[in-house]
Symmetry: none
Subunit: 201 residues, 4 copies
DNA sequence: CATGAATGAGTTTTCATTCAT
DNA sequence: CATGAATGAAAACTCATTCAT
């Protein structure tokens, strides 16, 4: 496949991503995708074997990138106690940034994908490992089941993404700050102040 | 509409709920619904004006019940500080119970409904008011933006419902305990222990 | 399926038979079939699950009837020597009559059916058994491999059907007389005259 | 057209022959043909003006060769009575050999060609003339309509080719022996024995 | 001599919905 | 209250064929 072909393929891919994101799988017509890519229907089948196939490729794309991102958070050694919040914050913000940078894929991967559950689990497990490592260092309460915590975090991220991030109402910095503050310190007052103090190594 | 008519309508309604929950809107066929209800296609249109109409009715049904539930949590006066956690816990558990009791509607209302956002906002706002009332009593950290907190809680609930509740992996009691513990006390260690102590008025 | 439905189905069946016979499988359009039956496309799928399905049903129909016919030739006991020719003649003529009476099915079953070979074998084997029975009575030369004879007969019938019968150039009586005369007596002259004499019991 | 061009053309021709033979006209795709020939679609149109054109060329090829063969059987003068069977046998065997040597073309020419009828007639007429010449010499029964005999012979050959020759179940020698024996002597017993004796001049 | 890229024209099939009874 | 029969409208996909290089 030469340069021109690659470009056509990409145009189709992007038009499809946007259409699927806006309209969902069934209400997206191949005819619309090709029109937006400046091509005719048969050309679509030159690059993708079916409407299902391009949809799955979009999902796989999202999945791959997101996993890469999560995996890249693996702990470096020697994180100091006082840095833990910062590190979690940085991670969550990075995720929000990634999602904001790929709104179409995000919508497809999170909200339109019937197999999203499996993908989310996948991401969750990667996250969980990071959290457990920090928990073993005593930075997090030992009673917490980190898998559930990871699920809760993912749940919040997904929901806030849907509500605030993708519509452009809030940005990654705000969202991550709020989520992480809540998650780290909880809702109760006062006693978290000495807690914050004790974060200092 | 006589008794027999009402029964037919109900059979259609329930068959539709289940089909939609399993297969989604587009992959659910009117022909399947009527088959499951032991009727023929024209009968369907005796009771519902269209496929869209029955779907919306299902959503409205879910929405109504869920709102009722949330609204019923309105604070009675004079909640004691030490009861706050318990009250939140009770509320969350009740929600999980409701969702578990209506799995088809839940799936439709939460995961298949393109207009779910509005509905979730609605529920969120009701929740937010409750939380703000308690926050004004000083039971929750004053810096917290209660709307976001409510959204986070909803996000967790939705996600855990999808992953654990509807598949029957965890039950309302477990899920609500985990969620509320995390939300109330956060992830950090130690300082939450005096915190819990100080909950006692 | 009520009366009206049955009639529609039959109209479709017959229109299809004729179209397939004239145009072959690929050049027959469902749209043409339904037009000829005075219906619209979706109605076709009310009665047949696909274009392939109706084609196969036509073949099966032909096959079934033809087999029945062949099987009905099973020898009654006590055929006299002098009747053998007559019986073969009658059988062949009946076959030609059947084919002439069902020209569309014949064309489909014999000339358009990719699985025709199997069907022909089937018919051949039924025929072979009849011939072998007569051979055991000494009415046919014992050196002859009756399966091949049956195949030859079938080959002639098929070919003559294509060339003379279906186009209406010759009729069953003529064709069967010619075929059977040739098959029974062969091409060589004279010596068949005492033979014919010896047929008399 | 240089050497390379000729080779490409030939590869296309042969790939097409095989595909058509296996799959029939409609289910053979130009894209498959070119793939098998190691070329791309536009190249196909360098050598053949259309899919129809190459198909017709294949048929013409078969036709030409077959006619040549049949024509070569023209009677030399002075065939002796006792040689007649042998000559017919030789002719039929030669035909079977030709068909066996060109299985793809045979399948196309005999079984896939909608215009095969005309071609078969053609061959039949050539055959008929030979037979009539021998009939006039008194070697065959004078009552026989030689055109029909020729058609019968062709019918048998075609059918046996389909069933036994192309699948490799029987070979030209066997097949021709069986066919000719049946055709010459018929099915009846006894009287053919003096007949065979009387063949000796 | 050959190809990468593209397309015109078509066809089967599906499904929500309605008519007539 | 219910059904047998029918349809309008569309959508995915295929394939022979050609343009531009």
């Amino acid at each position: 496949m030469g340069r021109k072909g690659k470009e056509s393929r990409k145009r189709l891919f992007e038009a499809a991503a946007n259409e699927f994101a806006i309209r969902g799988f069934h209400d997206t017509k191949v005819s619309t995708i090709v029109k937006r890519a400046g091509l005719t229907q048969p050309s679509f089948y030159l690059y993708f074997s079916s409407k299902d196939a391009i949809f799955e490729e979009l999902i796989a794309d999202f999945h791959t990138h997101l996993r890469e991102l999560i995996t890249s958070f693996r702990l470096e050694n020697g994180v100091k106690r006082k840095d833990v919040s910062k590190r979690v914050l940085a991670a969550v913000e990075t995720v929000f940034q990634f999602l904001a940078a790929n709104p179409d894929l995000t919508r497809i991967g999170f909200f339109l994908n019937p197999e999203a559950k499996q993908m989310k689990r996948d991401v969750t497990l990667a996250l969980k490992e990071n959290l457990e490592a920090e928990q073993r260092l005593g930075y997090f309460r030992s009673e917490l089941e980190m898998e559930t915590v990871a699920e809760c975090l993912i749940g919040m991220i997904i929901h806030l993404t849907d509500l605030y991030l993708l519509p452009g109402i809030k940005d990654p910095a705000n969202l991550s700050a709020e989520v992480v503050d809540l998650l780290i310190h909880g809702m109760l007052p006062n006693q978290s102040i000495p807690g914050q103090a004790s974060e200092t190594e």
